[in-house]
Symmetry: C2
Subunit: 322 residues, 2 copies
Amino acid sequence: MKFSPLFWPIQFKNGIIYILDETLLPHKLTYIKAKNYQEACRAIKEMKTRAVGQVILVMYIFLQLLEQGKKKDLVKVAQAINSTRPTLSFKFLTDMVLGWAKSGAPLDKCITGFLEGLKYSRIKQAEEASKLIKSGDCILTHCNISGLLPLIGEICQKQGKKISFFATETRPYMQGSRLTAWELKQAGFDVTIITDNMVAAVMSLGKVNKVIVGADHLAQNGDIANKIGTYGIAVLARHFNLPFYVLCPPASGLKSGKDIKIEIRPDIEMLEYQGLRLAPIGAKGYYPAFDVTPNKLITKHIHLNVGTVLNSRQKCPRRGQF
Amino acid sequence: MKFSPLFWPIQFKNGIIYILDETLLPHKLTYIKAKNYQEACRAIKEMKTRAVGQVILVMYIFLQLLEQGKKKDLVKVAQAINSTRPTLSFKFLTDMVLGWAKSGAPLDKCITGFLEGLKYSRIKQAEEASKLIKSGDCILTHCNISGLLPLIGEICQKQGKKISFFATETRPYMQGSRLTAWELKQAGFDVTIITDNMVAAVMSLGKVNKVIVGADHLAQNGDIANKIGTYGIAVLARHFNLPFYVLCPPASGLKSGKDIKIEIRPDIEMLEYQGLRLAPIGAKGYYPAFDVTPNKLITKHIHLNVGTVLNSRQKCPRRGQF
């Protein structure tokens, strides 16, 4: 199986953590080297990695610490990780690691076991998604699902299904164009970029027939939060009678989408792009980074093999479990 | 009444045509000087002006020609105008002028009469639109309606109605940000820019309660063609139960939206922005410049005072008619 660099964007080799710098994609494929937790935390602060990359990075930070014989610094490092991003919570991850340590479990095995479980569950998730796809399908996607889409494509190809993709560019940060179109093209798939406002046109013209997106948050009632623009695509999919599938993380404790706090980011991030001023000087913008898609618009949630990963959160998983 | 520079973007003074260079907005407010029809046609070719600006410019080209005592060149100049843009038809305008000339009517009076009628009808159209607006409304708009929106706002203000605006940035050419947000802010209105994929979010949050857009084409059955993205907004407006109003040009002879030919533009125009590469090298895009919104999604068409303008097309209008 080939993997997109975005599927597992962090590597840990010979004591050094290699972090894929997603801000330089698609023009440069560069890894930042982190020799210690301070350097790794800086990469999180500067948003060099995102989504699953952050989860993997947090776990490798602890693994590196153990290799350096600094188990005594666990709590200090957990605090440093938790203070990297004001709006993003890594606390469930750091608490899990501290819990394993407290219980006296072999910490390095717990961490590598968790990461293996995560990788295995993500592959299973891609396999589940591939069952929903027929030969000839053209999948519309939005933002980036960290390497799952090329994997779904590869599984489909092995099953003899011919598929192609449309990717929204995903303003303002362009993850659809910079990451998704890039990784799909790298993997040899037919992918066409559209601006975010072309979705109704391509649906009405029959150019796409299914939607697959990811989710940053899954509430108990099935509502999801995902990159801004997802909600609109879900409404359009319903209008044009197209299935709308969501690759989900494990459900959080929140009851419904109404309980998910949406991050409002500085408008400068949408009024400029890479230093180029897009809007009139002095104009104001409104930039909610995510929106909430209600459960009723979702044809099917494709769950992460929750049993495996959630169990691994409760207690140190044994290799045999995966 | 104050007018946005975009309401009447072409001026004719002392024998020279002044063409507002819309490609330089919002950072520079510059007029190109055209001393003859060749220079004016070049400005059309290079897309320095658009929409109503092109109609006004074509008429001023003929007026300039008459002032230069070159009435004998009418047919040649009409041909030059018609060959400026492959996909845009100015033929109904040039045919109208040639028709007036053939009938022996006083051509300069016909042209100025037509332009006065156009201006008057557009003001009437803004007045009609203002009747649909209540104090406290926040209007979502898309692309640019050539100065009509600030005019509607001004009329509302005179009626004591307080209104504000949200403008989609309108990728890929950014007319919403560059032109609409600019002209509304210039006129002193509260306007907030959003990226095109934030429409569902702002509608679901109740931040906007009405939609007003323009149209490039109105078919006999009420379907419209307008800047790409309009269709999606219409579907979302229906989903969130918001009225969707369209400021229309006179209806064409086409039966329905299905008969409107949609211009597919080079994908380089969306994969780059002002020389900055947005997409991976080698990636492909799909760029339909317009989409067709079906009549059933339109709450109300706000027509250009068709009687006046269409009559002025048939025969040279007299001043008293306006």
